[in-house]
Amino acid sequence: MPNPIVHLSSTPLAGAPARLSRTLQRHSKFDSLCFIERDYRKDMAGLFTDGALVLDGGANKDGDELLEMAVKTASIIHIHNYIPPRLVEFVRDIETDAQFVYHLHSPRREGPLYVPRAEEFDLPIARELVVAQMHPRFYPDATPVPNIVPAAKPSLRDPYDESLKDKVKILYFPAQARGGRWNGKVSKQLTQALDTVSAHKDVEIVKIERPQPSFALERIRRTCDITIDEIVTGGFHQISLEGLQAGNAVINGADEISMRVMMGWAGEKPPFIRSHPNTIHDDLWNLINDRELLAETKEISADYAEKNMQPKNLIKLYENIYQQIINQAL
């Protein structure tokens, strides 16, 4: 087995580094460890750190020791988004033959990143990666890689089941309140459209009062019919991928460039219902009023995820990149 991959991140980044690390452990030849400098606070604490070690800014001495050992023997040190100066200095002071990978998860000109950070680390970055959703347009020279979303499980709502035909369940949960050109998830027209359809006796808007761990959200999503991402930016988010995995009809506002980015790693055009503030009202009603269309769309989503989004297949993209870097360093 090659030496381990060490993932470093300042925050849990909605679970992306920890999930990638876990998937590498399960489905690749690489061992993998994930270290996070600090967890989210308040009601987000502990939700996205499963499978990662939280260093608490150096307060977790055992964690720092484990990190030191891991960095010494690592084949790849994979830095996600940015790491604080403490961690940069910590890694720089350790003698290692590891190669460095820098992975961008956030858009430019808004938090948390604003600008790419590779230069400030002053580390020999062998390859830059970027989340393959709307992000490659911001970092045109980086290699796009998918966010890994847990494998598809069947929907808990069979739309052909007569007993469940009474209501259409819509999940709209903009968990991250951060605004911005690309981080913004709320639009007045979408809120109005949801208000209108929720008054209908055949519609239930599923509300989640506070952030939940991803396994709980996945379970809730599997009891729903429609997942709404956002329709304002031209991109799509992890919610859209989770919606496909849960066999939901997925509504977002992806532009053709975002679609072509996903085709690049998934192989086929994703079956998103691409909407816009001017069309969201009609797009929702089409699905609510035509149950056959809704059932068919859900089935297409589940089939697409099953065929194109299996973590055990997607992880090969990362494996190949790591192996290329290791070979080049030899």
């Binding site: 720089r92 400030e120 490659p136 045109p140 532009d255 460039i257 072509r260 001017n278």
Partner: protein
């Protein structure tokens, strides 16, 4: 590149004390030079064409010595007087946190500007432009409730917080989060003769602001390459513009005389104003009738590319995004862009017959947030 459309006519008149109070120079006798601008066809930001006479005080008489004062002297004197619109004083090389003070501003961000004032030996014309902007209460984006001043000096040298020379990240990190939120209220950053990356740090800390860089004819310092490439508009003389011909500059406005600098800046801000319909326009080929174009316009797409391949044969993003844009450029037979984009990338759009420029334009517009659709063969 485009030149000013207006004709500038020098004029003379005297000023009353209310006019002068705006600049904070309490002098009695003034030698003044006004500039009368022809009515513009651009949206007027609340200024009626008859109000467009911009009065600019240039050169005044010292009240004690009776001597002419240069713009530079006026500028230094104006610094002594507290300017209520100053929202931050920044030392570029320091690592201290930067706080942008709260300012009561107009609701529309496209009517609010930041004037970045360089206090390190500004040139004579630089001082003059600062004075012209600060004394102008006719153009809406320069009025009290619309203009914030950030004063910049480069005097102290602390060690950077991190090893390496990435001043951009260091500077962005210095803005406290409240400051970043406040920067979102400004639609424009105006930087005159920028010599370092601070204007870019202001621009990159806010997804809503556009960077306007003005180079005065008497500027002799070295031009910051990043400022040229990242600026949303460069305002300069034809001579400077010629020196920038190898850069992929989004837009250049040229002025002939220093008297035209202020008007170039106001015209530039007007050109970036929100478009009522923001219609899709052919910018490279694309003059033929296109099916479903009305629906595309309704979905607020900023760019539409017509490709010569079918949807199934069209390239996907399998390598880097740069490689993808190269592939798409090869397949592209026509480009339509929204009115907003046409204004924003005016200099690139003029050169779209060149394949490399087409790729640069697409990369730049998408990087800046344009939403794009394709029409497949």
């Amino acid at each position: 590149m485009r030149k000013l459309r207006q004709t500038l006519i020098p004029n003379t008149r005297s000023w009353d004390s209310a006019d002068l109070a705006l600049q904070g120079t309490p002098v009695e006798k003034q030698k003044l030079e006004d500039v009368v601008v022809n009515p513009s066809s651009q949206p007027n930001f609340g200024v009626s064409p008859s109000d467009n006479a911009l009065a600019i005080p240039i050169g005044t008489i010292d009240e004690f010595t009776g001597q002419d004062l240069s713009s530079r002297e006026l500028f230094h004197r104006s610094l002594v007087t507290a300017e209520p619109r100053t929202i931050a004083k920044v030392s570029f090389w320091s690592n201290k946190l930067i706080q942008i003070d709260e300012q009561k501003l107009a609701a529309k961000i496209t009517e609010n500007s930041i004037l970045l004032r360089n206090l390190d030996e500004p040139t004579e014309l630089e001082c003059r432009l600062y004075a012209e902007i600060l004394s102008n209460n006719k153009f809406i984006a320069f009025r009290n409730r619309h203009l914030g001043i950030v004063d910049l000096v480069s005097d102290t040298t602390d060690m950077p917080a991190l090893k390496g020379s990435d001043d951009l990240t260091r500077t962005i990190e210095r803005f406290i989060s409240k400051s970043k939120a406040r920067l979102l209220q400004y639609g424009f950053v105006i930087a005159v003769n920028p010599a370092n990356i601070f204007p870019i740090a202001l621009q990159q800390s806010s997804y809503s602001s556009k960077l306007i860089c003005v180079y005065t004819p008497d500027f002799e310092g070295s031009v910051d390459r990043d400022c040229i490439e990242k600026a949303d508009r460069i305002i300069c003389t034809a001579e400077t513009a010629a020196a920038l011909k190898d850069f992929d500059v989004a837009g250049i406005d040229i002025f002939d005389q220093p008297e035209q600098m202020l008007e170039s800046v106001t015209s530039c801000i007007q050109s970036f104003s929100p478009k009522q319909f923001n219609m899709l326009m052919p910018v490279w080929n694309g003059f033929e009738r296109i099916e479903n174009i009305d629906r595309m316009a309704l979905t607020a797409r900023d760019l539409v590319l017509k490709l010569k391949c079918s949807e199934s044969d069209a390239p996907s993003v399998t390598g880097s995004f740069s490689e993808y844009i190269e592939s798409v450029s090869k397949e592209c037979t026509a480009i339509l862009a929204s009115e907003g984009l046409c204004e924003r990338y005016v200099s690139l759009i003029e050169k779209l017959d060149d394949k490399a420029t087409r790729a640069s334009f697409l990369k730049r517009a998408l990087n800046d947030g344009a939403r794009c659709e394709f029409i497949y063969a």
